[in-house]
Symmetry: C2
Subunit: 402 residues, 2 copies
């Protein structure tokens, strides 16, 4: 703080760092002024102006109109992150759909393509399909003058080193996902060759989306569940994902809720997923899908209500264990669960109240929450890309002639 920039050391680490500092400050504020940025980051006005000029030239920021700050002094020009230029490409491959989104530097989801399809197929085919959807999304983004700075892949299973180690719900083992996706995308759109790729478990990506774009901004330590065909889990501690020794932490879908229950794809019996996963829940309710399940529940169909009550109870049983272990501020439920909360929540809350060591859970304080709207794993994947751009904008600057 109060560390002046060094105008002569234009390419130095200090200036790069300060460019990132200013860009992140504008990004977090949404819109602001040079004076407010200077006050916030502790640099002089002239230093901030110089940095802002460079970020405007490079297309990371735009100016729009004048504002009165409410304080004494001249009105300032409003600064905003650009809604053109560098963007994050987020790709979620799940069991029964692929979602691709393109998120601009303002954090807005500008292009979103979702295709429902059965991905329980050979990995190269699935990743080629995902690349095709991504290529079309990038075409749409190009019309909005957005170009991907990188791509994040959200994958359902154990992910490390760019590969899916194991995804029982897809039947995948040791699938080199980043390479297969990157090659397929470069074959379709040669301009993407060399695009930086990053990948993680879809549950971790969804938790990241909640952290970066969600409305639960007060939460720093929480459990995040996503109900899909499987039940994904992620653990956030002090604002960071807890990844474990090998990067595989958070497999809450395979907590045992009934030791003698039905066999699970993972090899165990009575895993949470066998009761609260989408396939199990829809099947137990005799429904054809989640919309049909909601309709049946609204019509008080006994079988649907019983299946939802059972799923809520099993969610509560698993979550009570996770809360006892991890002492989070809250549990956030995403995926199919927010729509189903009216029917899941009563049994779920009862189990938590009964089974969490009593000092650890107060049922009345907003500790059980539906995930924020528009936070899903594809947005989390795009957030990882944007994080890299914000951390070092010069590395993503368009090459210029001078």
């Amino acid at each position: 703080m109060n560390q002046p920039t060094e105008p002569k050391a234009d390419k130095s680490g200090v200036r790069r760092h300060n460019l990132s500092l200013v860009l992140r400050t504008v990004h977090e504020a949404g819109e602001t002024t040079r004076a407010a940025v200077a006050a916030r980051v502790g640099l002089t006005r002239p230093a901030v102006s110089s940095l802002v000029e460079q970020l405007l030239d490079l297309g990371f920021l735009v100016e729009s109109g004048k504002t009165f700050s409410g304080q004494a002094g001249r009105p300032g020009t409003v600064l905003k992150p650009a809604d053109t230029g560098s963007a994050g490409l987020g790709v979620e491959i799940n069991v029964d759909y692929v979602t691709v989104c393109v998120v601009d530097l303002t954090g807005t989801d500008r292009v979103r393509h979702t295709e429902r399809l059965d991905n329980r197929a050979a990995a190269p085919d699935v990743l080629t399909r995902a690349a095709r959807i991504a290529a079309q999304a990038l075409d749409a983004a190009a019309e909005l003058r957005l170009a991907p700075a990188g791509a994040g892949l959200a994958l359902p299973g154990l992910v490390s080193g760019g590969a899916v180690r194991q995804a029982p719900n897809l039947g995948w083992n040791e699938v080199d996902a980043e390479r297969l996706f990157g090659d397929a995308l470069a074959a379709l759109r040669p301009g993407t060759k060399g695009l930086p790729l990053t990948s993680d478990n879809e549950a971790n990506m969804a938790a990241l989306a909640e952290l970066r774009f969600g409305t639960h901004g007060d939460l720093r330590t929480f459990l995040h569940l996503t109900g899909e065909i499987g039940v994904g889990g992620a653990i956030v501690v002090h604002g960071e994902l807890l990844r474990g020794a090998h990067g595989f932490a958070g497999e809450i879908g395979h907590l045992v809720v009934d030791a003698d229950g039905p066999r699970c794809r993972c090899g165990s019996r009575g895993c949470l997923e066998q009761y609260a996963g989408q396939a199990a829940l829809v099947g137990a309710a005799g429904a054809t899908g989640v919309p049909d399940l909601v309709r049946r529940a609204e019509a008080a169909d006994p079988r649907a209500l019983a299946a939802l009550g059972d799923a809520g109870r099993m969610l509560g049983r698993a979550l009570s264990g996770a809360v006892n272990l991890l002492d989070p501020e809250a549990v956030v439920l995403g995926g199919i669960y927010p729509r189903l909360m009216p029917w899941l929540a009563p049994a779920l809350a009862d189990e938590l109240a009964d089974r969490v060591v009593s000092g650890l859970w107060t049922p009345d304080a907003g500790r059980l929450r539906p995930a924020s709207a528009a936070t899903d794993a594809s947005r989390g994947a795009a957030a990882l890309v944007l994080h890299d751009v914000l951390a070092d904008p010069l590395a993503y600057a368009p090459t210029t002639d001078d």
Copy 2:
């Protein structure tokens, strides 16, 4: 590194920091020379010599004999941490015993008093008893010319802010443990008035002891269980305790292993503690205590073997969930479990193999370990005190006349 000391700034933060750096280096090495310290910390020989002289004067280090380093050069004088002077007082209050230990700067447990007694009594009485045992241990330590730099309290329950929030196995709620213990000790030994106190859950303290003094030095991310009357748990991630949002993480003893099982003191049913806690296990085996249980198991008594097999299976069921959530390198079992491993381990290992998502557990790689000998919660409590002394020895230096 290579940051020279500033001899004129004798009281400065830099010199305090360097004193700590040299003391910690000698402490970690056990014994070493000035030259080896200089090479290790990146300070000059004269700077290290000056720091060492001060640490010798203040009584934190001692010299003994000469060593040949095996490299070219003069033999160096051997430096060791002093086994007199500042020591850590560790106090563990558990359901059926109190242990007090005094650990010197070499890390050696010099005085250890354990008394088996029933602590399910009023908190002031129990803490007064513990203070009496601590006072006697301090008398013995004084004869060894050791003086406490502080005291750590290891307590069975949810601990925060110096107080026990809840300890179901003791029947305590909101007990101001540090104050009660400190006042009782000061009443018995007025010289301890103002002694710095710190407190934590006994399971966390046992995990800290394993980290600092244990033989599993390779482990940085692990689960640590201690079998006592209750089953304590602690989670270590990248060498640090995971404490959760309110400091209560790690309550593995209350993971549900049989949803319809017996009622637990915590209010839930079928908690791990109801099968694998000492009281439950000894009771199910029809034994009079742990030594009797071991004798019965060695004699292949069917009831003892059945109880141990059942406890192992339930431990495995709970641990499989914890491993799925946290992806640790290993699980370390302490308290009564190391003695019982021959009978617990088979069923425990089977459950882990069956129930952990398969990429996450390889049963053959030393991932299930007994706790190291001589690592218990009282040593962990003493380690916290020693950590503070090593971090800033000047703050604990005896006052001198000059």
